[in-house]
């Protein structure tokens, strides 16, 4: 069972109350709704699109689709990126009558060997008509908002020497370096609080994330938190990056661009790897070091060799916090057990009882933004996915576009910070002001 650890009250902020699935839950102002929900025992938040398999938290960094909920009458919001403001009304979605007991879950058993929608019910035209009627009722994600938007977000234009995308260790270091050298610098970060993987690793943690964020601000970097780069449009005035924030849209124009978007946590391929209770190891780390929440008492870590140092650090921190930790190589895992939450992992030799499975894969470079700007990427298993191709100086294949940190291949927080500082210095030296 997840629980809040003592000694973290100062970072949690004031106590507030949120309503999750019609139940009042004690939460804290500095927590995300997902963290509060997990700590209060909420397990299933929604159901998947096709088989109606139970869905819940996985990445805790706003990139997967696990924690989509309806908040204050607005559908499809990520619970891990929503702050716990008092009185917030949170509901699950995509299930009948509720996410925990969804009758449509029968689809999963009826189609246990999979469903090929290309040939499903296409043999008879009468059956096909009926099937389409049913499918139209079942499919789709969430329901429309209760009310139309009354206030439209404002549009702001930002002109800078350097735009850094991503506020993790690499991005914060790069932006601090360019701003210190006198280049006007904006940094865009999509999380509730910048810091990226620094907030997930027991070797760095919340304190270091806050220190590096504050160093960037002191150096003069305009740090935009909760701001997501949503697209690069090369045809517009030399190229504009559109950035979406809760109350505004930024149009960012820059002379030099630095992508420091890091890597996304990924799941690993083993049977029933999507069962609630299987969450990213980095999310387990984030809950522990950033929120003071121990996500499970008996944690089973499923890992690949590329992240062994990170897993060793996480396992030690979890053990210190009072958890019992078992480490399993991916190749040994043959399944998971449990109903609404995982209770065991099946291995080649038997089974390991647990109340949480932490999946440690190599993070996949977040390179789809650089791709829009014309940067070449290459699929590389060691790098974790499609890494941005850079030269020794950090230049990508697109003019005036640079990349540093995990987006160029997995490095880990400390090495990513060093890389960010190095590339920031190169941009100052070689990039046209």
């Amino acid at each position: 069972m997840a629980r809040r650890l003592p000694g973290h009250d100062a970072v949690r902020g004031e106590a507030v109350e949120v309503r999750i699935a019609d139940t009042s839950v004690r939460a804290y102002a500095e927590e995300s709704i997902a963290a509060a929900a997990l700590a209060s025992g909420t397990r299933v938040l929604s159901r998947s699109l096709k088989y109606h398999r139970p869905r819940t938290f996985f990445c805790f960094e706003g990139h997967c689709s696990g924690c989509l909920v309806r908040i204050g009458g607005v559908p499809n919001l990520r619970a891990c990126q929503a702050p716990c403001a008092g009185g917030t009304e949170v509901k699950g979605q995509n299930a009948f009558p509720s996410a925990e007991i969804d009758l449509l879950g029968a689809v999963d058993f009826l189609f246990s060997r999979g469903m090929d929608h290309h040939t499903l019910m296409t043999g008879s035209s009468m059956l096909n008509k009926l099937a389409n009627k049913v499918v139209r009722q079942l499919s789709g994600l969430g329901k429309l908002p209760d009310h139309a938007a009354t206030e439209l977000p404002e549009v702001h234009r930002i002109d800078v020497d350097v735009a850094v995308i991503g506020g993790g260790p690499a991005g914060l270091a790069a932006a601090t370096t360019t701003a210190t050298a006198g280049r006007t610098t904006v940094l865009v970060d999509d999380q509730l609080r910048p810091g990226g993987s620094l907030r997930t690793d027991p070797r760095t943690g919340r304190t270091e994330a806050e220190a590096r964020w504050s160093a960037a601000t002191s150096a003069g970097v305009l740090v935009l938190a909760r701001s997501t780069a949503i697209g690069f449009f090369p045809e517009d005035d030399g190229g504009v990056l559109a950035v979406s924030a809760p109350d505004r849209l930024y149009r960012v124009y820059a002379k030099q661009w630095i992508w420091a978007t890091g890597g996304y946590v990924v799941n690993l391929p083993f049977p029933d790897n999507d069962r609630p209770g299987v969450i990213a190891a980095r999310a387990v780390g984030r809950l522990l070091v950033d929120h003071g929440i121990l996500a499970g008492d008996r944690v089973c870590i499923v890992e690949v060799p590329g992240v062994v140092a990170d897993v060793t650090a996480l396992a030690a921190a979890l053990t210190t916090a009072g958890a019992e930790v078992t480490r399993l190589p991916l190749a040994d895992v043959v399944g998971t057990r449990g109903r609404s939450w995982t209770t065991a992992v099946d291995t080649r030799d038997g089974k390991v009882d647990c109340d949480l499975v932490a999946v440690a894969g190599t993070p996949a470079p977040a390179s789809e933004g650089p791709r829009q700007q014309g940067c070449r990427v290459v699929l590389d298993a060691v790098a974790g996915g499609f890494r941005v191709v850079v030269d020794d100086h950090g230049r990508t294949t697109a003019p005036n576009v640079w990349a540093c940190g995990d987006v160029t291949g997995y490095l880990g927080p400390a090495a990513a910070a060093a890389d960010g500082a190095r590339i920031g210095a190169n941009v100052v030296r070689e990039g046209a002001p």
Binding site: S48, L49, K50, Y51, R53, F58, C59, G62, H63, C64, S65, G66, L68, N76, D108, F109, G114, D116, H118, L141, A149, L152, P153, E154, V155, T228, A229, I230, G231, F232, F233, D236, D237, A242, S244, L249, Y264, V266, N267, P269, F270, P271, D272, N273, D274, R275, T336, G361, A364, P365, E368, G369, R371, Q372, L379, D380, A381, G384, G385, F386
Partner: protein
């Protein structure tokens, strides 16, 4: 739960679906995307693109570097339509006297 190995959780795409796609002759990453629907959900491939591409390399026996990503298009993340509603140059639908018509917001970059 029925022992499925899920590669794309947004669209419930499994390893068996990928193998089926390849067996039907859809083995290019864009074809696999269109045939199985992977990468078309709320995460837009953030969690699954690398995983599917690496599995595709293994199944088809190609070197990883030979597999390109699928095309990346805006928006990079789910975006409420209201965020774009006031963008200078964007068309805005206004309802005046019961007749919907298209107007433009004020913006200094609009020149057509």
């Amino acid at each position: 739960m029925a022992g499925k190995i899920v590669l794309c959780r947004c669209e419930d795409m499994t390893l068996a679906d990928l193998e089926h796609s390849v067996s039907r002759g859809y083995r290019d990453i864009e074809e696999v995307k269109r045939y199985t629907g992977f990468g078309t959900g709320p995460c837009q491939g953030k969690e699954c693109l690398a995983v599917v591409a690496l599995q595709l390399a293994r199944i088809t026996g190609q070197p990883a570097a030979a597999i390109p990503p699928f095309t990346s298009r805006p928006p990079l993340a789910p975006t409420p339509l209201k965020v774009l509603a006031r963008d200078p140059g964007a068309h805005v639908f206004a309802d005046e006297g019961g007749t919907a018509r298209t107007t433009r917001t004020q913006g200094d970059e609009v020149d057509d």
